[in-house]
Amino acid sequence: MVDRIEGQFYTMEGIAAAVLMVLTAYLVMSTTSVYTPGDTHIIDMQLEQVGNDALKIMDTKYNVSANLTDLEQYLWDNNSSGFSTTFNSLLNSNNPGINPVKFKADIYYVTGTDNVSKYEFLPATSYIGDVNGVSVSRWVYLPRRSPVLAPYQNATGNHTVLLEVLLWRD
């Protein structure tokens, strides 16, 4: 039989235990978030971000009356050296003392038989690197063109090709 005084003690103990458990749970939740594990994905993210930015910027018209964006124009003309120069300057300008970003570019396009083919738009100059490679891509709209200058182009209709750029640092 539990008397009145004992009952009060049990209640107080119960409340104290509850408070302690809630407090412990709170401490565990609030302290674990402090330990952010470090890994190399952040470096990948930076490279991916700047690569995506560069493609987005190259695929933005200078003004509203321009017909094609820089990126569309380079692909339209099959001008890989122009692409390389512009992309390189967007990625590597204002970077004194930092290893330049290297890149290669492929174009995926649908052929007449609905198969996807790959065209090596810009081959890599070297494959020496010490950080993970990152791939960025963008769909590029190409108006029809005659005569065609590259296999990914179409003489009869407008179409869209997938430009994939692989980025890495030396």
């Binding site: 952010t36 930076q46 987005k56 018209k61």
Partner: protein
Amino acid sequence: MLGLIMVAGMVPGLLIGLQRTTAIDYDAVAYRTAAILTEDPGWPVYPAWELSDNTGGVDRIGLAVAKESPNVLSMAKIEKFNDSSFFSYPEDYRKKIIFGDYPYRFNISLKDENGAIIPPIGDQIPDLGGYGYIKRVVKIKGESYDILNLNSTSCNNTYCTRFFNETNTSSQMFNITLNLTSLLDKSINPAYQYDPRVEPINITMYNFNTTLNCNDTFRTRTYDFPYVANATTWNDTYNLTSCPVSANLSTVRFYRNDVQIPIDYYTTAADYRLSIDGNPNSYNLSPHSEVRDNISLIIYPSSHLPLDEGTKLDIRFTFQDAYNGTPIARTLIGGSHEIAYRTGNPNDTFIQQNLSDAWLEVAVW
């Protein structure tokens, strides 16, 4: 028990040291800051934060022109962002772009191929590393302006109307219209849109001397004001052989949907800038001043003219001599000109600068 709880309460404080030494966290903060700056127009959006009179009206600093056009930055926002007399360093920047409870130090720079667009904001980046960093590639949208060459033969057809046979009008009015319905048409990408609510209205007219009234009626009248080249005395009668050398700009008035906007037209203000013939001093909007070659008017968005979608703003330039004794206007410029997007016509007068490449870099430590 109480002691145990207090000790347990101090444990997170002990662990904060770990957070400060983890560089990985800085990269994430740098990424978030750069994302806000390049992809977000800031808050509030309308009225835009850069038009706010005090920092309390700015919740978040974002530089993008609009949410729909990330990576395209507005020059007006960049200038406000860099305004050290407006934002106090570093508290305002920490509160409005960096966020977080920890007092981060930072360095934000914006460069193009010619160098820094604005001086870097923040502290010197530590040489020894240990800071979070991210670089974003962006485009910058410059300011737009309208420039009218009154000497152009197309002035007659497209810019303005010249009343060559007009002999009996004591004043001429030239009207410049901004139709916000067509300027803010939703079909135009915000990156290429001209929004006079957040961008300056910049108008220049030059070659005024080619619009001056030189017909016979003008030359054989009696004048009481020496506004012609060979007149030296007032209240004399001349049988003039030469044409007037200047016009007289009496007033500039703003109309919203054909109703005059009630602002102070008699005091110069920082919200607009009216300059005549390259004079560095700004005139008020009732200048009553001689114009030989050019008029330039810039209305800054800080003037808060009551503009919204669907309204029409008219800027009316009236040319009339200060003393109403002259029954004939000295200039033949008149009619109306609308500021509109270029259509490829060689007579287009509205200039929108090309988007230019730039790099935004954020370092946080």
